[in-house]
């Protein structure tokens, strides 16, 4: 009875904390500017099914893709077992779903195989990071927390899967020993993997029960703890990959957003008789200085980043030693957003600190290294768009601060004065027809 109550309390605490964190993440995302992405729902659904569910963009790195599918499918399916664990925990039953008979055995058997595969995948991912030391996991932005984060996730999964298998092994052994709470007249469950473990287990019922209970509690507490860890981690992608790909950019990659606030002003300049925008319209800041100037989609992008570095390893600027790393742009955006969120929690909604995304996190040098080539957006398996953030910050630098590099200022004034980014008059535009050859 005490165990049941304890379990229910833990469950409520775990889920409650998680819900609280999710609410604050949603609040943070909503700090972004509004953008209407309710168009083309069918196309969006298809994109989500293809890219997130179908993992279509992972394939460019087959090894990672293969083991990731195991983690992905394994993790989701094994979590069906959590339903049973929760029912058992609340009502003190044991293997309550075993009335499903042979189907139940099939399920438990498959979970075991999957758990084993997940274990292997975790070891592969760990060795990729820590033994093979793949370059994209060892760049400037991948030190300290991001580095530990990746390892923590993998170790937790290893512990969870091990607990699951050891628990099953004890259970099987207890059933073989016909222990009272476990054995119901016939063996339930199938134990293709854990049956290999029983030779390592003691034959003493009390110890077995202890190990079984210990693993059971460890597993479920582990899952609840993990659930609460996820939103603080790059592992958040396991949830956000879905909405994030749903809201993918559907227009051609080369099409940059049109700034309507600018359109209004330019129309007025070209045609003074045009109707000015209503006076109560809020004064627009051109471009982005801080996270609140970005759209909610750009903020959602930042929470969805898996820190896989595929963007950065395709980025021509990064490849040639420039400071720019599109992954860092996303990580900085998320870190700053979390900071702004914390400030709001502690000091209220109107609190402003001295910092901003541009300046305190992202430098101008990074922004000016981008060639807008879209290699990063093409590479991203969760359809994140670092380029749009880079451009929005350039907009701020150019239109609010006039701090573009001098050569670019020169280019601007040439376009203004003679309609070309070079110093040639329009009257020379037909010269090519006259040149010999």
């Amino acid at each position: 009875m005490i165990a049941n109550i304890l379990f229910v309390l833990l469950l409520i605490a775990g889920v409650g904390l998680f819900t609280k964190k999710i609410r604050s993440v949603i609040r943070n995302i909503k700090l972004g500017q509004d953008i209407d992405l309710s168009d083309r729902p069918m196309e969006r659904l298809q994109t989500m099914i293809r890219v997130a569910l179908g993992q279509s963009k992972m394939g460019s790195r087959p090894v990672a893709a293969f083991f990731h599918v195991i983690l992905y499918v394994g993790f989701i399916i094994i979590n069906i077992e959590v339903i049973e664990i929760i029912i058992d925990g609340v009502f003190g039953t044991h293997r309550v779903l075993s009335f499903l008979g042979s189907f139940y055995n099939f399920l438990i058997g498959s979970f075991e195989y999957l758990a084993f595969l997940v274990l292997i995948a975790c070891f592969v991912f760990l060795s990729r990071r820590n033994i093979i030391k793949l370059k994209r996991f060892h760049m400037k932005e991948m030190t300290k927390w991001p580095k530990s984060d990746a390892n923590i996730i993998l170790f937790v999964e290893i512990f969870l899967m091990s607990a699951f298998l050891i628990m099953n092994a004890c259970d099987f052994q207890l059933q073989l020993l016909q222990s009272e709470h476990y054995f119901k007249g016939e063996i339930v469950g199938a134990f293709p993997i854990s049956s290999h473990l029983i030779s390592f287990l003691p034959n003493d019922v009390a110890t077995l029960e202890f190990i079984e209970r210990f693993c059971w509690w460890f597993h479920i507490i582990g899952i609840l703890a993990f659930l609460n860890y996820v939103p603080y981690s790059k592992h958040f992608h396991i949830m956000l990959a879905f909405p994030n790909t749903y809201y993918s950019k559907l227009t051609p990659k080369g099409q940059f957003s049109n700034m309507d606030s600018v359109t209004n002003e330019v129309k007025l300049m070209l045609d003074p008789s045009a109707v000015p925008p209503p006076a109560d319209a809020p004064p627009a800041r051109f471009g982005a200085k801080d996270v609140q100037d970005l759209t909610w989609k750009q903020l959602m992008d930042s929470y969805s980043c898996t820190e896989c570095g595929r963007c950065t390893s395709a980025c021509p600027a990064n490849l040639t030693g420039k400071l720019l790393s599109p992954r860092k742009i996303m990580m900085d955006t998320r870190d700053r957003l979390e900071e702004v969120g914390k400030n709001i929690d502690q000091h209220g909604a109107d609190f402003k600190d001295e910092k901003s995304l541009l300046g305190s996190y992202i430098t101008e040098e990074e922004l000016w290294a981008c060639t807008s080539c879209n290699a990063c957006t093409e590479a991203c398996p969760v359809n994140i768009d670092p380029l749009s953030i880079i451009i929005d910050m350039r907009r701020y630098l150019v239109m609010e601060q006039s701090t573009a590099p001098a050569e670019l200022q020169g280019m601007f004034s040439k376009i203004e004065n003679n309609g070309a980014p070079w110093q040639f008059p329009a009257s020379d535009r037909m010269n090519w027809t006259k040149d010999e050859n």
């Binding site: 227009t251 051609p252 990659k253 080369g254 099409q255 940059f256 049109n258 700034m259 600018v262 359109t263 002003e265 330019v266 129309k267 070209l270 051109f286 471009g287 395709a314 021509p316 600027a317 490849l319 040639t320 030693g321 420039k322 400071l323 720019l324 290294a369 981008c370 060639t371 807008s372 080539c373 879209n374 290699a375 957006t377 451009i391 701020y396 150019v398 239109m399 573009a404 590099p405 050569e407 670019l408 280019m411 601007f412 376009i415 203004e416 309609g419 070309a420 980014p421 070079w422 040639f424 329009a426 009257s427 020379d428 535009r429 037909m430 010269n431 090519w432 027809t433 040149d435 050859n437």
Partner: protein, 263 residues
């Protein structure tokens, strides 16, 4: 070869005529000496295939692409709106350009500002002309030559066109060879996003050197391009390795014009 005649929209309008397509020359195509040769090749092919075309001439102005990529949305929209006024004034419906940046900007970003046209890159027009039999090409001097193609970001990834330029040059019976980073994985030449107009940021290599190195590793006779900026960047890259006498950087239009001997 008959004399090249390039009418302007104003000439045409004065005669009460309307061309099939407007040839948007672009700033590089008008002013850059190397790109001007490409412009001429395109015009010659248009004339040779009997496509009635005209240019805006002195009425053309920068599309605003470099301003927009550099973050100067004001300047971009000023340019865009005045270009749209000119284009709409001539009731232009179809535009061809040899510059992927102009192509992308007019095709994707002008509609929001009132400019709706059918826009094609010259590789796409060439392919259409070949497909419908108006342009007949054979290998000629290109037969068997080892050639690779560098995808322009603003044609490839930005607009999903990888096939047209490849299929056009493959009509020349060449020995086509692909770089490892090609199509959607193509590596930028380093000029986009207004980089063309500034020095690169600090790093350990220039992007065009990285790309030229990759192309040269294939030992091609020609590196084919479809963009005036890629042309500049890769030509410089090839020069950096002192290979400019062995390896040519050529636009696909130049290759076609040469193959049908209207150079």
């Amino acid at each position: 070869m008959e004399k090249l005649v390039v009418p302007t929209m104003a000439d045409m309008m004065a005669k009460g005529e309307k061309p099939e397509v407007l040839f948007w020359v672009g700033c590089a195509g008008s002013f850059d000496d190397r790109a001007k040769k490409v412009t001429k090749a395109v015009a010659k092919i248009l004339q040779h295939t009997g496509v009635s075309f005209a240019v805006l001439g002195t009425e053309e102005s920068c599309t605003g692409d470099p301003a927009k990529r550099a973050g100067h949305e004001f300047l971009f929209q000023m340019q865009a709106m005045s270009n749209v006024m000119v284009l709409n004034g001539y009731e232009v419906t179809k535009i061809v350009t040899a510059c992927p940046h102009c192509f992308n900007t007019i095709k994707n970003e002008y509609p929001a500002l009132g400019g709706n046209y059918e826009v094609v890159h010259h590789s796409q027009l060439l392919q259409q002309l070949i497909d419908n039999g108006r342009l007949k090409v054979e290998g000629g001097s290109f037969k068997g030559k080892k050639i690779t193609f560098h995808d322009p970001c603003y044609l490839g990834r930005a607009n999903g066109e990888y096939e047209a330029p490849r299929s056009v040059i493959q009509k020349l019976d060449i020995y086509f060879t692909e770089m490892k980073r090609s199509r959607a994985n193509g590596l930028c030449c380093g000029a986009g996003g207004a980089q063309m107009f500034k020095e690169p940021e600090n790093g350990n290599k220039d992007i065009n050197i990285e790309r030229a190195e990759e192309a040269l590793a294939l030992n091609p006779e020609i590196i084919a391009v479809g963009c005036p900026f890629c042309m500049t960047m890769l030509s410089d890259g090839v020069k950096n390795f002192n290979k400019e006498h062995d390896v040519e950087v050529k636009d696909i239009a130049e290759m076609i014009a040469e193959a049908i001997d209207i150079k």
